[in-house]
Subunit: 332 residues, 2 copies
Amino acid sequence: MKALLEKDNKKPGVVLDFKNVPFVDKLENRLMDALSDSEGPIREMCAHIFKAGGKRIRPLIVLYSGMVFSELSQNLMDAAVAAELIHMASLVHDDIVDNSLLRRNRPSINKIWGNEYAVLCGDYLFARAFGILSEKKLMKSMSFMVEAITNMCHGEIRQASDRFNSNVNVESYYVRIAKKTAIFLQSCAKSGACIGGAGEKDIDIMGEYGLNVGYAFQIIDDILDFCGEVDVMGKEKYGDLKQGNITLPVILLMNKDEYRNWLLEIINSRRLNDNDIDKICNALKESGVLDESSEIAAGHIKKARKCLDMLPKSNYTDFLYSLADMLQSRIN
Amino acid sequence: MKALLEKDNKKPGVVLDFKNVPFVDKLENRLMDALSDSEGPIREMCAHIFKAGGKRIRPLIVLYSGMVFSELSQNLMDAAVAAELIHMASLVHDDIVDNSLLRRNRPSINKIWGNEYAVLCGDYLFARAFGILSEKKLMKSMSFMVEAITNMCHGEIRQASDRFNSNVNVESYYVRIAKKTAIFLQSCAKSGACIGGAGEKDIDIMGEYGLNVGYAFQIIDDILDFCGEVDVMGKEKYGDLKQGNITLPVILLMNKDEYRNWLLEIINSRRLNDNDIDKICNALKESGVLDESSEIAAGHIKKARKCLDMLPKSNYTDFLYSLADMLQSRIN
């Protein structure tokens, strides 16, 4: 397994290309099947989403979290597919919420088909996911997914209502990213471990792994919004700032006396021009808050690895370690 | 039971006020509970939706379809609540799709909170419904609800893509309203019968009842768009026509030689002014197609009643008969 993971990567133990990890082909096929029994424009939208690809982090976490405890099973594969469908649904709806026109380097569903179709496409994907889970009677997975979705809704609403809100702080940021991102990854890890037959304690530890991977993932995503390459991110740069979404680096900058008042004034104006954005980006770099944010993300990756240390050793644990390392490598 | 149903109605056997049917208070309480464990704006939106009320036709069909075969159970009540939550979710999302500003005589969620929040509110309601069904392990109900939602998505998309499409005919209209409306009512009836312990055959008959009630319901709704009172409908008049949604009365009018070319020209122009709408409404009345449409709806009500005739007699069958009659009375 380790050899497989390292096959196409120079850095040992770090997976940079998920196309080469075990069972990803099987996952893609199953996902395509699940998306192909629709008709008309919904079928076209599903094909567009499928072709846009993605890292499939959530379904792979489901699969490998389960395979730490047991062989690959059909149930595990189905729960993985359901998780990706829910993720896809939430992305389609998020792009409406954020009015995003680009997703994974392609025009978003709302950009091509309009908000009306995008709403229905997302609903269809949610229903498809629950259809798979109910058909296979995966009740626990369903509960985890329901928890993930209700939290995502609250998280997205919180993000929307906190736009240009200069009162957000590190604590409220954490609540938001837990709801928006991390609880979903926790749910995926728990769903997998549960189907794999793990005991309650191990399910919780695996969940803690997912939660920390989720925190790291979101924090890194928020950092990349300021310094990532559009080609790599597959979405517009400075999108958060333009939308008034105050993320960790900006919160840390607000906490610094020398920037606070200046930054508050810009944010409270609720209208950031290109000049403001340039200035904020420079301040984020020179003040060191991007590095501070990276260190915070690294702390979560470390916590995630510690969770894995407490679980049974398995070939598939290696992937979960690698996933954590891969996140770190995005900002190195 | 019959006495209860008739308590506040002059016309025997016809329920005009669902507030007086058995167990509706229990249903309302349970629904309120299900909606109240949210927070922030989602909680406010849920409260707005709950307060707007509604006839609760879907959950009542779940309840009574089950109670034809057994006593009221917690499972039945939960499945009923889940059905109403799904209905609420679909209304919230439909109002985005149709850009409707009025729902049940109150401003729609998208009107007050905007499309962004409305998308998330609908997602939350869907997730809440599946949360209840998964918590109670109501797998069959879940499958029926998934079928209902996937069909509703396809039906709404079909409606949107058929806007101002003068090629729609009675057959394609039926496919659309089955997907959009009738299959959901069929799913509710089957969900209830299934939880009530009915055999396969009776579940299908009850489903057929629901399907026909659904057809009648949608056809009558489409008729009322031309001749209903805004206060009674709780939404804008001529909404379908304005949006280019070609419904049964208009299709029947297109089938009449003396109106066909004139009507095609107006529809194909894709821009209907108030004068066009007035003219079409007059033509619908004078040509007799509104009456023809009512007769078609009445045919479905008759079919629905025939299904009930084949099922075991129960006090609760009476409600299901009354529900069918009540639909008819809306256009009498």
